[in-house]
Amino acid sequence: MGKGVRIEMELKMIFNFIFGRKQYRHHNSDALADLRVGERAIVQDLELDHPIAEHLMNLGFVPGLEVSVERSGPGGDPRVYRVEGTEVAIRRELSRHIHVSLVGAPAFGD
């Protein structure tokens, strides 16, 4: 693990601590399911079987693109996300497997 990544991780943990984010989010990337409504992030990778990942990518969940949490359905599940011009509703069980990094700490230049 590179030094830069570690500093970034620590910064993020401090940020999370201050803003009350959950402690277990100490990975470089978070799950889409962990974002709060209104937050934006960059898609990192889809830890899903091929047909599902392919379908999500066709809808715009392509690594490198920005995704935002638009709103939460009543009861908190499913939630509506926005990628480019499209709004897509996804259940939590699925968005847990979509890894993202919060905007402000993108994995690669964008």
Binding site: D49, V62, E70, G73, G85, T86, A89, R91
Partner: protein
């Protein structure tokens, strides 16, 4: 990135127009609206062999006035052969779909508001090498929301004609008629990243967008505002319940009376036609065979059309997707998704329109699961049977003061019984044969739009025709068979009394099988004739006992009390709650799944469940009443 050159095949007679042109596009690109606008009523529905995927073939005149066949393919995002819809599209475009020649050209319909995502499909289709026209649809919304695109630059990028159109306003559609007359010369070869991953094609799409100065429009303000209400924590579910009750009321309160009026009209015209024929077999064939058969098909039309009108409004306006989001949490508990809710709800009125309504469910497995459990919902045809048997066997007593009588409780119990069996069946299906690892709930949320009358009307005509032609023929054949079974063998040229007919022999034949349920051969006859429609058993039992069931229902109840013990009556109710006693439903399932496999399995499963449960109910009640 892998780039390779795709040469456009040189047509030998490039001067002549295209004969068959395929139309493809992603879901929510407005493809169907555009297709309907181009072909109008001149289209017919078809199924490809061996798949549930449906296509339309319609005709349109090109700029030279020649007729061109337009083939509408299912909505697809990509050309990935792993999904059934996309495999069908790939097969058709490559000319390997049995029974369909390779199209001469393709029209790709994209949503101009979402080009970065939709151009991926255009890229893949263009790479197939057929002459291609790219239509950027919903131009009106693009301009209204301050979006824009340079079509000429994009045509230059894609090296194929591109046009900005609007299917709702008709703007720019002359591009289609011009393209169809092949006035455009075959363009030069083009370069596309065809072998790349989704990501590299996507990057290519963004570059094409940039080079043609594409400006994505802002999200319509109204969509955000409406979603604030319709997906609100408190108001969202409340509005959902109101909408659901309205839909239910519409089908029950408006559909049923319309159905009754239609039935009365058909009966009286039948009698009128009958009077013009000599008494005898011909008259009976015309009135009780053909006319009744036609009647049993068309009586479904009011409910089907009403339901599709409501669903059409919900779907075209964009609310259906929101309703699915709200219902999803509850439906996910039984392994289904939010889109199954409205079809299952309408199954309380009638399973036939409900099963047709499942086409709004994108996931194939969820759709089949919904189709298979829908007939367990207590439909309105079961009600006359329940009412009569309950009235005959269950004394009316207050159970919970004035709120619930014993009879109402029995009726409610039957509703609950059907519902529980539906849930149980769904759970079994979703954990076994229809385990859907490949189709979790992923739903694109379209912006809110005003539904147009033309698109709603076309949908009604389309669904009505599909039901009449494809399911109607099966219902007709079974009706005629049932008529023949009640009218043969003949004695001295006269049809027999029902006691001596083939139906009666069938009743006697199945008597040993149904004896353990407490049913005699007369009930057996009723079970056979009720295949036409569940409530027919009442008329049959009336005929067998020499009673006009409609006028003297009390006499029929008395007769039933002689025929059945209390245990047998309970068994009959349970049997009707679970059994697939409805050929129209079977015909529609066959039509919607495009195979006899599902309706056959469904019939077998429901009959076995009904038999076993009725047997259990009989033994339990008998045990306690002895």
């Amino acid at each position: 990135m892998t780039c390779h050159t795709v040469a456009r095949p040189q047509d030998e007679n490039a001067a002549s127009s295209f004969r068959t042109v395929a139309v493809v596009g992603p879901p929510n690109s407005g493809k169907t609206t555009l297709y309907n606008r181009l072909t109008g009523l001149r289209q017919k529905v078809g199924n490809f062999p061996g798949v549930t995927v449906e296509h339309h073939i319609g005709y349109v005149r090109n700029a030279d006035g020649e007729e061109v066949a337009l083939v509408d393919l299912p909505g697809i995002y990509s050309l990935n052969p792993k999904s059934e819809d996309e495999r069908v599209a790939v097969d058709v475009l490559n000319g390997v779909m049995p029974g369909m020649a390779r199209p001469d050209a393709v029209i790709v319909v994209l949503n101009a508001n979402n080009l970065h995502t939709h151009l991926v499909l255009a890229g893949r289709v263009i790479a197939l090498g057929l002459p291609t026209l790219v239509l950027l649809n919903m131009a009106d919304e693009l301009h209204k929301q301050n979006g824009g695109v340079d079509v000429l630059a994009m045509a230059h990028e894609l090296k194929t004609p591109v046009a900005l159109v609007s299917a709702t306003t008709g703007q720019g559609l002359e591009a289609v008629t011009n393209f169809l007359s092949a006035a455009t010369p075959a363009p030069e070869p083009l370069e596309l990243p065809v072998v790349g991953s989704t990501r590299s094609v996507r990057e290519w799409a963004v570059r094409v967008g940039e080079n043609s100065s594409y400006r994505r429009p802002a999200t319509p303000v109204w969509t955000k505002r409406l979603d604030d209400v319709f997906l609100h924590r408190f108001w969202g579910p409340l509005i959902f319940v109101v909408v659901v009750v309205a839909v239910f009321q519409m089908i029950f309160a408006a559909g049923k009376p319309l159905q009754d009026i239609l039935q009365t009209f058909l009966d009286s015209t039948g009698t009128w036609v009958g009077q013009m024929l000599p008494d005898g077999l011909l008259r009976s064939l015309v009135i009780n065979g053909v006319w009744k058969g036609v009647g049993s098909v068309v009586v479904f039309l009011p409910q089907i059309l009403l339901l599709f009108l409501v669903i059409g409004i919900l779907e075209d306006s964009g609310y259906l997707a929101r309703a699915a989001v709200i219902a999803d949490r509850t439906m996910s508990r039984v392994g289904l998704n939010g889109k199954s809710f409205i079809p299952l709800l309408s199954a309380y009125a009638c399973a036939v329109p409900a099963i047709m309504a499942t086409r709004t469910i994108e996931s194939k497995r969820d759709r089949i699961a919904t189709i298979l459990i829908a007939p367990f919902m207590t439909c309105s045809a079961r009600l006359p049977v329940y009412t009569m048997v309950i009235a005959a066997f269950i004394p009316s007593r207050a159970l919970l003061g004035p709120f619930l009588s014993t009879r109402a409780a029995a009726m409610l119990g039957l509703y609950v019984l059907g519902f529980l069996m539906a849930i149980l069946t769904a759970a079994i299906l979703k954990s076994t044969v229809l385990k859907s690892k490949d189709a979790p709930f992923i739903l694109e949320m379209p912006p809110y739009r005003w539904p147009t009358a033309a698109s709603l009307a076309l949908r009604l005509v389309d669904r009505g025709k599909a039901f009449l032609y494809r399911a109607g023929t099966v219902i007709m054949v079974v009706s005629l068979l049932l008529w023949a079974a009640t009218n043969f063998p003949m004695h001295n040229g006269q049809p027999p009394a029902i006691q001596d007919s083939v139906v009666a022999s069938l009743g006697h034949a199945i008597e040993p099988v149904i004896r353990p349920l407490g049913f005699d051969w007369k009930i057996g006859v009723g079970l056979v004739t009720s295949l036409a429609a569940r409530e027919v058993i009442i008329a049959t039992l009336g005929t067998l006992n020499g009673i006009d069931a409609e006028v003297h229902s009390f006499d029929l109840q008395r007769a039933l009390q002689h025929e059945l013990s209390l245990a047998g009556a309970v068994a009959l109710l349970v049997f009707f709650a679970f059994a697939m006693q409805c050929m129209s439903t079977l015909a529609v399932v066959r039509r919607e799944t495009n195979s006899w496999k599902w309706p056959a399995a469904q019939f077998a499963y429901m009959t076995i469940v009904a038999y076993v449960s009725a047997f259990a109910a009989y033994r339990i009640v008998e045990h306690f009443t002895r």
